[in-house]
Symmetry: C2
Subunit: 231 residues, 2 copies
């Protein structure tokens, strides 16, 4: 590009962009980008299932990532106290996320926006959040390109989830130590038209994960393998 340079100073041309498109990225990945949005009660197995699907996709060479509370709570969606320590009072009050309705909506909105970016990058991103409110999930669906949002309802009876209680949260909620806990004193609004429903009380994570993979093959998100299994 030496024709653009004269005497050490570039002439004032509009540099042209060689931007890599989403289609370019998906071609390189060998599959489409999309968001697998796992929703369900605490203890329903969202995270376990997301990780099992992630493992299967990764082993097939897909570009994947998992977004969950563990990797957004300390960063993108930090609590007020964390922001206060690093960014001061105004940042804590304005941008820190608690558990009020607006905070929950913003939590899901940010996760949706980030998931959108991963999808645009040609990645299959799996999100594992209770995301109990239909309105918040539907807002994410509306934010994404058509077909990018794959809502996966991880269904399990409350009694099963409460018996599992992997983090001891139901016990605390029943004892009144946690308030506004989904399923106890805050509602879980079931999806009305999810792309996929899985029953985690009656089937193993591996069986359910294989079902999700089959769905993605049939949808054309990922290429079909020689060892396709029934959902």
């Amino acid at each position: 590009m030496s024709d653009r340079e004269h005497g050490g100073e570039m002439v004032d041309v509009r540099w042209h962009e060689h931007a890599v498109s989403r289609a370019d990225r998906e071609r390189a990945a060998g599959h489409r980008g999309c968001v697998l949005w796992f929703t369900g009660l605490s203890g329903s197995g969202k995270s376990t299932l997301a990780n099992a699907v992630d493992r299967l996709l990764h082993d097939r060479g897909c570009r994947t990532f998992v977004l969950d509370g563990d990797n957004v709570r300390l960063g993108l969606n930090a609590a007020p106290a964390l922001l206060r320590a690093r960014y001061g009072e105004e940042a804590a009050v304005r941008f820190g996320l608690g558990f009020g309705p607006a905070d929950r909506a913003e939590n899901i909105r940010r996760v949706g926006a980030v998931a959108d970016l991963f999808a645009q990058a040609g990645t299959i991103v799996l999100t594992a959040f209770v995301s109990p409110y239909r309105r918040d999930r539907d807002a994410v669906r509306a934010m994404l390109a058509p077909g990018d949002f794959v809502e996966i309802f991880v269904r399990a009876p409350l009694e099963v989830c409460e018996r599992r209680d992997p983090k001891g949260l139901y016990k605390k909620a029943r004892a009144g130590e946690i308030r506004n806990f989904t399923g106890i004193d805050d509602p879980y609004e079931e999806p009305q038209a999810p792309e996929i429903v899985v029953d985690s009380a009656t089937r193993s994570p591996d069986a359910l994960a294989a079902g999700v993979i089959g769905w993605l093959e049939r949808a054309g998100t990922i290429p079909a393998s020689g060892t396709q299994r029934a959902p």
Copy 2:
């Protein structure tokens, strides 16, 4: 996994996780994940250079993505008016981002947090934001794992940037139509120890992009190619 199922109901076992690690993702990608943080005045060529580097990395088979104003302003870092229309007044006032000091800091903080997630996914993510304040950039550096933050100072004299004025913003700033514009009535704090400095006034984007690629090869972020070029 039928041994875990009894009479149609799963026994209450702790499902074990098959989580894919960052190392797994980087092995599959064939390179390390990291954040290439381009900083400099408006018109310095950050976006053009980021896209040129992105193209070179993509053509080598790397997993990449570009974060810039175009893909975060309408989503993750939406302005108050956009949030008001979709999420109501409280969301607009609390979470919408304007141009005050706290808003600018939060803008960069969220971009940094998202870039961190992409790096964890084994992606080389390129960010193109003026990011004029040293404190905000250093906070992103501190947020990331050691070595993940590659600060690239795109240096060009203000006169050159103002002559380019690709978006007509300097003209508006000089006319008083835009206030707090970096370089005019708001400071740009140059990086003190950036990993890379490029002079966009005297070299072409392609030459500069080749230099960045050489740096990444020497740093071990990407494998060296047979056609390595001097920086």
